[in-house]
Symmetry: C2
Subunit: 417 residues, 2 copies
């Protein structure tokens, strides 16, 4: 009855999943709806940026050679021959000691190769002339055509997440539509005869299904839509029907519970019935050692633990990178840093331990009640401490690895000058 | 013509904005649509979690006192009197050396105070009895009622961001609907006579408006909707009409450009005409020293620079915390850490400098072309290096402050065991 399972290291489990993740292809979306999507093609500059020599300040465009020798004692006077705003073009070509009054962002006129900032000029009453008290070097106060990007340049590689800066680039180059990776539709099926729906009243022996809403929110955090499935009963055949329906309607399926060794843990039997290849069914980690991943022809079945903390961790460690790989992302893995442990963590670790934690930029501390069935610490945490297996415990002051899982919420204090 | 402006420190500018930000009130949303919203009321536990003494493993519920003295030489046999799955309740009360076969998550029956894990039991063929080889302490292998949370406990404070863990808590306690902060509707008006729309072809002297799409994406990153406004011409009166229309239709307005000292920089005149109080019009920072914030009766007018990098930085430093305060958030400020500078940054800093950067968890390096008009480095960066003003430059190896602005995209390597 007790099946022997061989635990594999987390890194090996991650690698097995990533290897099997197949890309979903691409689709076109409007720029205005592209935040958080993943670029399916490199972003290529369609022109130089800036597209012309540009005034970065309000002032006067001059020929630098006319300013040679200027000093407080030897002020040089320029005659203003034109006046242009941003977006305008002067048709004048500058002659000796001629200048064009120019606004920030305007195209520098022909012949000009430096800009005198308004604050650097002593203007006459009528602004028809101005004086300078210092020489200006060639290209001084000038934004040169192409200094930021060159036409044809591959600016952002395919597989990058579209952030506000990417949106600015897309707009700059006239991409009103963007080719992005298709998002998988993910099925979520919480198994467990003890589970009630959110709206149901608590009865003896039962708890409400929190893993389903948690996973749908983990997916929402990635911008990935989901479909929820239900089991009508705790019968293997009916469970199989639900799994087969999900396989028809979605790009992958996440189940919670049912992967352990209990009498109603049907997932191992289901994997067999649908002829799925089990990539692993035991990982050398806590919580979530029973996490199982199987696949049939690139369709993933993620068998996460029914324990909320184990379920949460299993999602972020295995589901997240697999979905990102399906979306062609370049960066598959959680952001990571090192931090100083703010308190002792004396529990010995035969397996790699992931502790839900609070990170403040330098220190990290466990986010509270630390068992695999904990729910509160998932909400309270913004990171996961990673404690390698085979260790006897950790002390305050030890430097540990931290995976960042929600630090973008920010801090309550500014604390910079 | 040149107006004297007194720069104030960034921290002072932030404080002036925050002081004036007024809360918007709350609304109710479905749990399934609550990701990223901000809790308007504390999340209170409606029952103990777990709600009953619970088996954390598959095994046998026993009375611990019956196991006293058990050893490999002195095995103790128990009789299995019932068999329950998760969600089921046994109506048996355990007598001496009686046990109930129990699944993970099930309620421990009356009289039982320990669980023998399946792996710790030597079962008879028919599973009617089993033997143990060690004593079990009271509460061994038991999840105690209320060990995670107590009924009535304030689990998560108002003002917290709803993350996947919060969703799990809300589901646990039967909150199918959640009271969350209302989101502001933010108006965005890009000024600048040089600006073309995304779909327009480039013409001499013109560039496409990238600040508008960038800001709408910065807002999208915060889950905040926006309305875009246009200026029909570069005429002060028409600009005023656009601003007044936005003030009627939105909760605050972000303008880009027009805050400098150029001849077409109308914003200062507009603030006067609408009798707005200017909180500051010069900040001791680069880029974005001309960033201006004004307000009329709690309606903010954020006058960001027209230079993309300055605009981006101004948004994250001032607009973001102000909007979060309006939404009652607890954590108003960007996440922050310290990192080792990966290269020299020799430019002297009279003002605090914010450098768009790439952070890898330990080191940070500038994200490329570093001028206030840069666009590429906004997209390439995932953080901002903060270099205090009054310094002469920084060297590789120096430890600097870093604001994290997109590190949640993650890393390209797993690199943990």
């Amino acid at each position: 009855m007790l099946e022997a399972r061989t635990p594999i290291p987390v890194s090996e489990a991650v690698a097995r999943v990533i290897e099997k993740a197949l890309p979903l292809g691409s689709e076109t979306v409007l720029l205005a709806e592209s935040y958080g999507r993943i670029l399916a093609a490199p972003l290529v500059a369609t022109h130089d940026v800036p597209p012309f020599n540009r005034a970065p300040y309000d002032g006067f465009a001059i020929r630098s050679q006319d300013s040679a020798g200027a000093s407080n004692e030897n002020r040089i006077t320029f005659t203003v021959v034109d006046h242009i705003g941003a977006g305008e073009v002067s048709h004048k070509t500058l002659g000796e000691r001629e200048a064009v009054r120019i606004m920030t962002g305007a195209s520098v006129p022909s012949g000009a190769n430096a800009v005198v900032m308004l604050e650097q000029a002593i203007s006459s009453e009528a602004e028809a002339t101005f004086m300078i008290r210092k020489p200006f070097a060639e290209q001084e106060n000038l934004s040169l055509r192409g200094e930021d990007m060159r036409e044809g340049e591959f600016v952002i590689p395919a597989g990058s997440f579209i952030n506000p800066g990417t949106a600015a680039l897309l707009a700059t180059f006239g991409y009103g539509e963007v080719e992005v990776a298709k998002r998988p539709v993910v099925g979520v099926l919480a198994t467990g005869t003890e589970l009630l729906e959110v709206h149901e009243a608590l009865t003896p022996g039962k708890i409400r299904n929190s893993n389903g809403p948690m996973i749908s929110t983990q997916l929402a955090r990635m911008g990935v839509p989901c479909k929820m499935y239900k089991m009508a009963s705790d019968n293997l055949e009916e469970c199989l029907v639900a799994v087969r329906k999900a396989m028809e309607e979605t790009d992958c399926l996440i189940t919670t519970g049912g992967v352990s060794v209990g009498d109603f843990d049907y997932l191992p039997a289901i994997y067999e019935r649908i002829q799925a290849e089990v990539l692993f069914n035991k990982v050398a980690m806590r919580p979530g050692s029973v996490t199982t991943v199987a696949h049939v022809d690139g369709y993933f079945l993620f068998g996460l633990s029914g324990n909320p903390s184990a379920c949460y961790t299993g999602f972020e460690l295995f589901v997240r990178p697999a979905l990102l790989k399906k979306m062609g992302a370049q960066k598959l893995y959680l952001p990571r840093t090192k931090a100083v442990l703010a308190g002792d963590f004396t529990k010995a670790n035969p397996f790699t331990r992931f502790v839900r934690a609070v990170y403040d930029g330098t220190h990290v501390r466990p986010a509270g009640f630390n068992k695999s069935n904990a729910v509160s610490s998932i909400a309270r945490g913004d990171s996961l401490i990673v404690l390698p297996g085979g260790t006897r415990g950790f002390k305050a002051g030890d430097v540990v690895d931290v995976l960042l899982l929600g630090v973008d919420e920010g801090l309550s204090g500014w604390a910079l000058s």
